[in-house]
């Protein structure tokens, strides 16, 4: 498709189709470098810490956590919502940007989708740990009464959650895997040992690269994108309804569904930035994940951060406007009460700091972006903490007032879940192609540096004819 000369290239360094194959396959076909090993060791150590803390929780019961009768939801749900939120950018980048025909998605969608899968896995572990009796996980599912427990309550948003998260996970996984098939076939065809050939051949589902294969591939991608787009909205909408269907001040707000979705995309893109800035450096992919890509993602972070900011201010204003005493108190207490520092962190990290991305210099500065992407995710963690804990610790009557501090086990499960996440991501970066190389090749003729040069030459001659 024709591209205006005013647009910047998406692939730098005069890369040919063959260069792309070489660059993307190199990390898989070679040996892991020492950076990878160091990262992997740290991640696995954190993962082992997670195993220990989960074992203590399962063995002793959730009494080992800091939650109590008044604040009965704490870090567990905070972490669950945080992880599910991070799981949003992947499907957004693959599905929504595909529907919007954004070609810059091609260099980043693979890692973003992988991030989605791993983040949703992390979120699911919190569901299992916080139900208290994780050996009965099937209680989350609607099973007949004869099976030994009561039929689940379909009026409860918690059961909607089970459906939403599992649907989202399944579709994301299928989407991710479908995209991987042509790339697995490339690795299979280049394989030097029979074991590599066998395993990647198995993963490639017999892909031949015929035009019929590609036609089906594109149709499936479009259908899955169509299905995933409403799913992106539905998952976090339902997570928001865990809170918004209650009557608790600070939780019951009609703005929650779209505001949670915007927040999820916001934190998801921040996590994609964190991961990709490391990945491009460690694997040497600077020509594919360019500052333009980083700039684009920063713009989305700016937009979604501002949407979240407007939602915060709207809630605060309407709490006053409503004339409901409990609502007004809840928000004043959030900003000035016992947990004021959490509110202040949330506002600074989520609303104020992304505004710096109005400056192109900062949007295209890699170090700054890296720091800010982490700041945003700290802010988004605090957002969930503020919503959950500050509303619970001051309910309607003083007998429902209390405080909450996490125990070391809760902290351990959270830190450990980061270990689980990074372990999975590092394995992915080692064995799977981190960029959708086959699809990326479709834009070499329109968006690479050499194509831009040609177009410019052509454009000049075109003008001289007039």
């Amino acid at each position: 498709m024709y591209e205006a000369p005013i647009r910047e290239p998406l692939i730098l360094g005069d890369k040919t189709n063959h260069d792309i194959t070489e660059d993307i396959c190199r990390p898989i076909e070679g040996k892991a470098n020492k950076y990878w090993w160091w990262c992997f060791i740290v991640a696995v150590a954190a993962l082992l810490w997670w195993v220990l803390c989960v074992a203590i929780t399962v063995g002793e019961g959730i009494g080992v956590w800091g939650i109590n009768n008044i604040v009965d939801w704490g870090w567990d749900i905070t972490n669950f919502v945080w992880w599910v939120g991070i799981g949003h950018a992947g499907t957004l980048i693959s599905a929504v940007l595909l529907l919007f025909r954004q070609k810059w998605r091609l260099s980043i969608n693979r890692s973003a989708e992988a991030m989605t899968i791993f983040a949703v896995i992390c979120a699911a572990t919190f569901l299992l740990t916080h139900i208290g009796r994780p050996w009965l996980p099937y209680w989350l599912l609607p099973l007949p009464n004869q099976f030994g427990s009561l039929w689940v309550n379909f009026n409860s948003p918690l059961i909607w959650d089970t459906f939403a998260v599992t649907t989202y996970f399944t579709v994301s996984l299928v989407f991710w895997y479908t995209g991987l098939i042509p790339d697995f076939a490339v690795i299979r065809d280049r394989a030097k040992t029979s074991a590599t050939k066998f395993w990647y051949g198995l993963l490639a589902f017999g892909w031949t690269g015929s035009s019929k294969n590609w036609q089906r591939f594109e149709e499936v991608s479009l259908v899955l994108a169509g299905i995933s787009t409403p799913l992106v909205l539905s998952v976090h909408t339902i997570v928001s309804m865990d809170f918004a269907t209650s009557v608790l001040p600070g939780w019951h707000a009609t703005i929650f569904p779209p505001y949670f979705v915007a927040g999820a995309i916001f934190s998801g893109f921040a996590m994609v930035q964190t991961l990709l800035i490391i990945t491009r450096k460690v694997l040497g992919l600077e020509n594919y994940i360019t500052t333009l890509h980083i700039d684009m993602m920063n713009r989305i972070i700016l937009v979604t951060g501002s949407i979240v900011g407007i939602a915060y201010i709207t809630e605060f204003f309407i709490a006053w406007y409503s004339g409901v005493e409990y609502e007004s108190y809840c928000f004043i207490n959030r900003a000035t009460g016992y947990y004021w520092w959490a509110y202040a962190s949330m506002m600074t990290c989520n609303v104020v700091s992304p505004q710096l991305f109005w400056f192109k210099k900062l949007r295209t500065n890699i170090t700054f972006t890296f720091v800010l992407s982490i700041v945003v995710n700290i802010g988004m963690w605090f957002e969930r903490f503020v919503i959950i804990v500050s509303s619970l610790h001051r309910a309607f009557v003083p007998s429902e007032w209390g405080t909450y501090h996490p125990s070391w086990v809760e902290v351990g499960i959270y830190v450990g879940s980061l270990g689980l996440f990074f372990t999975l991501f590092l394995l992915f970066a080692r064995f799977f192609p981190v960029i959708a190389m086959s699809e990326l090749k479709t834009i070499v003729k329109s968006s690479s540096t050499q194509a831009k040069r040609e177009a410019l030459k052509h454009g000049h001659s075109h003008v001289s004819h007039h």
């Binding site: 205006a4 909408t237 009609t254 569904p257």
Partner: protein, 392 residues
């Protein structure tokens, strides 16, 4: 560069609608002034929203650096030129009709010795008071209408001199407008519509109104584009462009439905008296059919009709679905404004239709007039070639 020529039929249509509207409004003032003010507010907002969406669409094309729509950008820009008229009309409607329209403007509600003293409204008086409200309406006028006029100036300049300077100027102003729009689309919705039911509140209300105005504006934009294309003004606009507008109509209808459901379901589920009163009124037997019809038209029509690729590429399907969607969203605004003022005595009759025709006629005249003064296709837009070579 070709400009639009206003036809005799355009004039007959615009002035005919205005004339019919004047009769309807005059009849209304003679029989039921409150109802007439209410329909003037409702129809003025409906057309204002369409014009505002034109401006929103125009500006975000620049913020998103989108190329496909470059060829049809003058349509939303001309739609936006109705904003100065709509904002002045809104101010006049408020100044002359506020006691009929907005319960909170009555002074005795704030007098502690009066039997009508209203504690809740008393608590809101820092925000809901006439001077501050008028200041806000004027601010919206300056921001919305001012941006529309200024962006048109840049467009004319681009037609005249070419180059990319005016593209970047437009882009910069678009970003400023979008930031202000993000705030004023919510506060404007609270002011103009939510404060009709002054006791009621919903944090989602601003975004809900935004989604509705966006769908309506996109639909009007699609219909006007097809009209101009059929009259030979858009030789390079083809079924691919119509397809993309159709996609927007489809997607944002679902987004509207999503917000409609979120607001309704959460209020219904929690069942708090101060919130649920709003929906309880709109579910009274007199209003219930329209309450259901609103949801059915605005969700099922676009969902079923515009789902397939082929239907979005056929102009006639887009026109039929679009016409129904405009009626549907008119009903949506009607359901917000009229019951809030008239209770269960809200009707749809010559007054409501007349008021809408009046503003619609005015809108069309301003639109055609503006189209006739700028080039129909912005041939100096740096991404115009992308729009010509666009296929799906």
């Amino acid at each position: 560069m070709k400009n639009y020529t206003i036809t005799k039929n355009n004039k007959i249509l615009s002035f005919g609608l205005i004339a019919f509207g004047v009769v309807g409004i005059a009849y209304g003032f003679a029989t039921d002034p409150t109802r007439t003010w209410a329909s003037l507010l409702q129809s003025n907002f409906f057309l204002l929203a369409i014009a505002l969406c034109g401006l929103f669409f125009y500006t975000f094309q620049f913020a998103a650096e989108a190329g496909w729509a470059a060829g049809i950008l003058r349509v939303p820009l001309a739609m936006a030129q109705f904003l100065p008229h709509a904002c002045v009309a809104l101010l006049l409607i408020f100044i002359f009709g506020h006691h009929d329209l907005y319960h909170w403007t009555h002074a005795e509600l704030y007098d502690k010795n009066s039997p009508h003293f209203d504690e809740i409204l008393y608590g809101k008086k820092a925000f809901l008071n006439i001077p501050f409200f008028v200041i806000r309406l004027i601010l919206y006028g300056i921001i919305w209408a001012g941006s529309a006029v200024l962006l048109r100036k840049y467009a004319l300049e681009e037609d005249r001199v070419g180059g990319t300077e005016n593209y970047w100027k437009t882009s910069k102003l678009s970003h400023v407008f979008l930031v202000l729009f993000a705030i004023t689309s919510s506060t404007g919705a609270w002011d103009i519509l939510m404060s009709v039911d002054a006791h009621w509140f919903s944090t989602l209300f601003g975004w809900y109104i935004f989604s509705g105005l966006f769908v309506t504006g996109l639909t009007v934009m699609g219909i006007l584009t097809i009209y101009l294309k059929r009259n030979g003004y858009f030789p390079k606009v083809n079924e691919n462009h119509i397809h993309d507008i159709g996609k927007y109509m489809f997607a944002f209808s679902i987004f509207w439905t999503y917000l409609w459901f979120s607001q309704f379901m959460l209020i219904w589920y929690a069942n708090l008296p101060e919130e649920v009163a709003y929906y309880a009124l709109r579910q009274e037997p007199e209003l219930r059919p329209i309450f259901i019809l609103n949801f059915v038209i605005n969700f099922t029509i676009p969902f079923l009709v515009l789902m397939s690729r082929d239907s979005k590429r056929k102009e006639n399907t887009v026109l039929v679905a679009g016409a129904l969607m405009i009626i549907g969203h008119w009903l949506d605004v009607w359901l917000i404004v009229m019951p809030g003022i008239m209770g269960t005595h809200a009707h749809i009759g010559i007054i409501e239709i007349g008021a809408t025709c009046f503003f619609a006629g005015l809108f069309l005249y301003v639109f055609f007039n503006s189209m006739s003064k700028t080039a129909v296709v912005p041939e100096n837009h740096p991404m115009i070639e992308e729009s010509y070579h666009f296929y799906l």
